[in-house]
């Protein structure tokens, strides 16, 4: 009888342990999936910004700039935007990279506004800015979701154990562009 009880107890423990492990791995997979989605969206946004930077460079090359300084700062802003966007997707996923991408988007947006004002390119600029805003909104939504989930048990434990950098998005992360990052280097 004792052996039978021990066997039942051991089997139940094994099932519970397996269930708990599966549950935690499930949560890990959930977090990985969400992080992959964020990374993928960031990569797509980075790619969109690169394409737009190339487009803006071509447009900027055909401008008749009133001042050489304006031309230089326009191209410097694009170079800096590309650098920020590249760094944002090259480094491990964390808040600073999201801010870097947001700063890059801010720089590209300022260039679009310049182009739209001087060359009658309002429609193209408007479409690009709208699409950028949509992409930023999507990333922001995913990051908020991640932030909410990662604060709760058991995702908090899983994130901490798997060494994921915590993403604490807050509201409208992508709207809070650090002004210093907007200055071309």
């Amino acid at each position: 009888m004792g052996t039978l009880i021990s066997l039942i107890f051991l089997s139940a423990s094994a099932v519970l342990t397996a269930g708990a492990v599966a549950f935690l791995i499930g949560k890990f997979n959930f977090l990985v999936t969400l992080r992959r989605q964020i990374s993928t969206e960031m990569l797509q946004f980075d790619f969109a910004l690169r394409k737009q930077a190339a487009e803006l460079r071509t447009m900027g090359g055909t401008f008749s700039w009133s001042q050489e300084g304006c031309r230089k700062s326009f191209f410097a802003a694009l170079d800096h935007a590309e650098l920020l966007a590249h760094r944002a997707v090259a480094a491990p996923l964390c808040d600073a990279n999201l801010e870097g991408l947001a700063a890059a988007a801010g720089l590209v947006a300022s260039c679009w506004k310049e182009v739209a004002a001087s060359e009658g390119m309002r429609r193209t600029a408007g479409a690009r800015l709208k699409s950028n805003a949509e992409m930023r909104g999507k990333i922001s939504g995913l990051v908020s979701h991640y932030g909410r989930r990662v604060r709760k048990f058991p995702c908090r434990w899983v994130a901490s154990a798997s060494g994921f950098a915590r993403l604490s998005p807050g509201n409208g992360l992508f709207d809070k562009v650090n002004k210093e990052m907007l200055e071309p280097v």
Binding site: I25, R35, A90, A91
Partner: protein, 219 residues
Amino acid sequence: MRKQGITFQWIDPCPNERLSQAQARLRDSVVSLGLEPELVPAGPGLIKFADVLRFARTRGSGSSFVWCNSDVTLTADPFALDDGRTVRGFHRREVPSGESCGGVDMYLIPNAVWDDVLSKDLPDLWCGATHIDWWLTRAAVLAGCYTSHFGFIDHVTHQESPASKARANSYYRHNIREYNKWARRNGSGLFEQRIRLPIVGESLSPLSDLFRSLKTWGH
């Protein structure tokens, strides 16, 4: 004076007619731009990306060298952008759709950047499988010397190869592992992967699935 060279794998025997025609088109496009095709001899099996780049470095005659995938067509001379300091990644344009591809299929690498930075820590990646552009782009970005370009290469759209996307493919898995090792060493972003469980597979949360199923039965 020796012409500038474009390095790419010359696959012989070719596993399919598409690739055979594509690499011949690439060779012709390189010659038509007044450049020299530098052919890396390869068979149907994949070879290591580091070996291809080393080959390109030793064959280079100027201050930079260029590598590209074997199934693109050159439409402009990448050496026109050479400044001896910046690694330049080239996104291909898909034919016939005209769309730009997110992946990078050609790089112009200054010898100085190769010698001082890139060659110091080369991940063991298979050329033709996934993530080689993740490594090269990120390594150059982390070194602060990378820009991307559009409009230099065309690529006829085809079905993706298993080594570039299929998770079950051993080349794919190898490259992801090696890329992640390199990324850990260098503080770059990892390619995060989910854990596969026996029987359960990749369920996001097996217990949640069970509860959901029970709920469904309840209704």
